[in-house]
């Protein structure tokens, strides 16, 4: 692998799809300095600063009462959907605009890990609050993240935590917390689930303000035995126990490997660091990581955001019709941010490679090619016709085309927008 290929591989995986200019800069800086800069950007992110999260009005449901009419409820429902769409569109725009691509992609990783869907949570403010929590704690040690998440209103609503009381514990949150978010299956017993549910009792969500609140009279203050430890554990203490288990560090590092490196090459031992930034460094530095080049199927959001960045398209600058097409395309591809299909998160790998997803990518590729910034298109057409497939590879940060794809692209050299669309649906671009 050449130096350029090595930094391109790193940037493709660590961020949402680098531009050719970013790869140029990384190649000049070298692989080691590029990794350092990704993990510790060291300067304010101007792109993020220019895309502040929307300031949402109060949850329209807060104003409803038992006496509210059907019309009022429908109106509140519609308003809620509008707010959720606003947050989804903002997030997509932020993913494209951010300079600190590692942090943006990591927030998306955590969103898929603590997979919480607006389908049940419904409140845009509460979903936005969870994203802020994932962003605040996402790079740091895992303990504070778990402690914040057991008190996160969106997660509490999603897994029925507000219904978990001393009188009759509800196990949904405790079980998924251990199975999917921290320890992984097999590292706890059914008794731990029951005791864990008791530790989490008492936390409820105020739907008016969208904040979590502790109600002592609903909490079970009794002695519990969890994972061999006994005490009067509450939510925070339980979160601390989970975060301190060695199985948790291994499990979470494995999940990071799964998303950033894939499944073709098994995760090497000893990836887990004291915080997520350290674990990511271990993943990207592992010799096995280099072997994963060309094997990881891009998730639909990764595919789309990468293309938007490389083609110089800002979603927020598009007309409404095209913004709708973007979200509609993600829907057809089965990956809409804020709406994971399951508490187990999104699928991976070949599950994204079906005829129905190819059709959706075809439509989106045509739309993206049509919206490509003139300056970007000019770079492609600056090359002589025979050199355009290579110019396209540079633009889309693909290491190179195989004979099959080159044969498909070559006849399109005279039609640059079609060439772009064909590049976006190629196996080399779809699988990074």
């Amino acid at each position: 692998m050449s130096d350029r290929e090595a930094v391109a591989h790193l940037l493709r995986r660590a961020t949402f799809g680098p531009t050719a200019d970013e790869v140029d800069a990384a190649e000049r800086a070298g692989a080691a300095a590029t990794l350092d800069r990704l993990l510790a950007p060291g300067r304010a992110d101007r792109g993020a600063a220019a895309t502040p999260p929307p300031a949402l009005p109060a949850d329209p449901y807060a104003a409803l009462t038992k006496e509210s009419t059907r019309e009022q409820r429908q109106k509140a429902n519609a308003e809620r959907r509008k707010q959720l769409q606003q947050v989804t569109e903002w997030w997509l725009d932020r993913m494209v605009a951010a300079e600190d691509g590692l942090t943006e992609k990591l927030v998306f990783f955590w969103h898929g890990h603590w997979a919480t869907s607006a389908q049940k949570v419904k409140s845009a403010r509460v979903m936005q609050g969870q994203l802020e929590t994932l962003r605040r704690h996402g790079r740091g040690p895992f303990g504070p993240l778990v402690a914040a998440m057991v008190r996160d209103p969106a997660l509490i609503i999603w897994l029925d935590g507000q219904k978990n009381t001393r009188k009759a514990p509800n196990e949904n949150l405790a079980r998924e917390l251990m199975e999917l978010f921290t320890l992984g299956i097999g590292a706890y017993t059914e008794a731990d689930v029951k005791a864990g549910a008791r530790a989490l009792t008492g936390w409820t969500v105020d739907r008016g303000t969208g904040t979590a609140r502790f109600e002592a009279r609903r909490h079970d203050p009794g002695e519990k035995t969890i994972l061999g430890h006994s005490g009067r554990f509450d939510a925070e203490a339980y979160a601390g126990l989970l975060a301190a288990e060695p199985a948790t560090a291994t499990f979470v590092a494995g999940r990071l490997w799964f998303r950033y490196a894939g499944t073709d090459v098994p995760a090497p031992d000893g990836l887990a660091g004291t915080d997520t930034t350290t674990t990511l460094r271990a993943i990207f530095s592992a010799p096995a990581f280099a072997q994963t080049r060309g094997t990881l199927v891009k998730q639909p959001v990764e595919w789309m955001v990468g293309a938007l960045r490389q083609l110089g398209i800002r979603p927020s600058a598009l007309p409404e019709q095209q913004r709708k097409q973007l979200l509609g395309g993600l829907n057809a591809l089965d990956q809409v941010p804020l709406r994971p299909p399951s508490v187990g998160g999104w699928p991976a790998g070949a599950a994204w490679l079906t005829t129905s997803s190819l059709q959706a990518r075809l439509r989106l590729a045509g739309m993206l090619a049509a919206a490509t910034a003139p300056a970007v298109l000019a770079r492609l057409t600056a090359a002589p016709a025979a050199g355009r497939p290579d110019a396209l590879a540079r633009l889309l940060v693909v290491d190179g085309w195989g004979a099959r794809t080159r044969a498909a692209l070559t006849p399109l050299a005279g039609e640059p927008r079609k060439l772009l669309a064909a590049g976006l649906i190629s196996p080399e671009y779809t699988v990074s």
Binding site: N77, A118, Q119, K120, W158, L159, D160, K163, N164, T165, K167, A168, P169, E171, N172, R175, G184, I185, G186, F251, F258, T263, D264, P266, A267, G294, T295, V297, D334, P340, P341, S342, V343, G344, P347, A348, G349, A350, A351, L353, T354, T355, S356, S357, L358, Q359, L362, R363, A365, G366, A369, R404, T405, A407, A408, P411, L412, K418, A421, V431
Partner: protein, 413 residues
């Protein structure tokens, strides 16, 4: 990543075993199925397996209303006697199961009670893996119908799912069933057929994922526009994804409505395709809270889809050779939680209808008071049901598929 975790990711992430991937899972379109019309023995039967994802509450599906322990355990959640659709003096169906109740009266619905497996696992994903693989001790990477397919010659068109990703139960060691997408067929503008065809070619030395991406171009070319009609009729149901009602935490299941999936099955059966097994699914049964209304909505969808399908099947010779089996990965706790819901439980009912099925009760109802840590004790091993289906519907010796499992459900057929 340890083996167990890795395997789990493969299964629950919709990525089946490497064998299945190599066999080109999903590389079939409806046209390919319809091309097999007439290839089958007209006397052979067809199995339609309906998976309910999330853990359907069996005690509020087939309701033991005559047992005082039922109401005592879940006072808010229990259905009053006068709402239950009566089956006999002790049991009745959920009020939403109107069509199935009618079938029961005509002797066309079989209910196997207390179906489960030893040492029940209360994780959705793990328990679903167990049901998919039929290997409770150590779920492997092959599904029970995938292993049947291996023995039946391995033609993927014999075992079909209408979900975007292949369900693990159809993944064999050497072969895999076909995942036929219910795809949106709006024509892709812009790129010519020549360009798309050029992408079909295999590239030596390419990764499995890139080879799969290229194979999609070949699949796409052969998808028939019959799919479009089904999709169009299905779209009405998805217009408003979020009503006011809070749904259950999602744990998987197809996005295409069950009736649309069964509609495709019906079209295939009527065309006389070679497919012997269809897998369809409905998700959303993880009712930890406010269960009653939520479950009733889902059971209503199930009831309409199943009875509509069964009625349609009753009208043709091919349709009258179809057997439908409905199951979920576990039932729910006997006692309600304080959220008017139930937590993950164990044994539950399997419902069967169709060709040759003897209606009525099968197996013993588990006791509501003699419990295993708050959960029902299973009375029928789920492999008894699988073995019976393999023998009586698929005309296959269950031995090689189910590790020489001996149990059967007597008098089910």
């Amino acid at each position: 990543m340890d083996t167990l975790t890795r395997r789990r990711f493969l299964l629950t992430s919709g990525v089946v075993g490497a064998g299945a991937l190599a066999a080109g899972a999903g590389a079939y379109s409806l046209r390919d199925l319809l091309d097999t019309a007439g290839d089958r023995d007209p006397q052979s039967h067809t199995l339609v397996l309906v998976t309910l994802y999330g853990g359907n509450d069996g005690l509020n599906t087939v309701i033991p209303y005559g047992d005082p322990a039922y109401r005592a355990a879940r006072p808010e959640l229990a259905y009053p006697d006068n709402e239950v659709r009566r089956l006999d003096d002790d049991f009745g169906l959920n009020p939403a199961l109107e069509g199935l109740h009618q079938r029961w009266s005509q002797g066309g619905l079989a209910i196997v009670r207390g179906v489960g497996y030893p040492k029940p696992d209360r994780s959705h994903f793990r328990s679903m893996d167990i049901w998919h693989t039929a290997q409770p001790d150590r779920p492997g990477t092959t599904g029970w119908l995938g292993r049947w397919l291996d023995g039946a010659g391995g033609d993927p068109r014999l075992a079909v799912s209408f979900e975007p990703a292949l369900p693990p139960l159809l993944a064999g060691a050497r072969s895999a069933g076909a995942a036929v997408p219910v795809a949106d067929r709006k024509a892709a503008k812009g790129l010519s057929a020549e360009t798309l065809k050029a992408f079909e070619a295999a590239e030596p030395g390419e990764s499995a994922a890139r080879a799969r991406a290229a194979a999609c171009f070949a699949d796409l070319r052969s998808v028939d526009d019959m799919i479009r009609q089904v999709r169009d009729s299905a779209e009405q149901d998805t217009a408003d994804p979020d009503g006011e009602q809070a749904p259950a935490t999602a744990t998987g299941g197809a996005r295409t409505p069950l009736d649309a999936q069964l509609d495709l099955v019906a079209q295939c059966v009527e065309a006389g395709v070679s497919t012997r097994v269809f897998s369809v699914s409905l998700g959303g049964f993880d009712t930890h809270a406010d269960e009653k209304q939520l479950q009733a909505v889902l059971l209503g969808q199930l009831d309409r889809a199943l009875t509509g399908f069964a009625d349609r099947m009753g009208r043709t010779d091919a349709g009258r050779k179809v057997v439908v089996a409905v199951y979920s990965e576990f039932g729910r706790r006997v006692r309600a939680n304080a959220s008017d819901g139930t937590d993950h439980g164990t044994a539950s009912d399997v419902l069967l209808l169709g060709a040759g099925v003897h209606g009525g009760w099968h197996g013993e109802a588990p006791s509501l008071t003699d419990l295993d840590d708050g959960d029902l004790k299973y009375t029928t091993d789920f492999r008894d049901v699988y073995a019976t289906l393999l023998e009586r519907v698929l005309d296959t010796d269950p031995g090689p598929v189910l590790a020489d499992w001996r149990g059967r459900v007597d008098k089910l057929f």
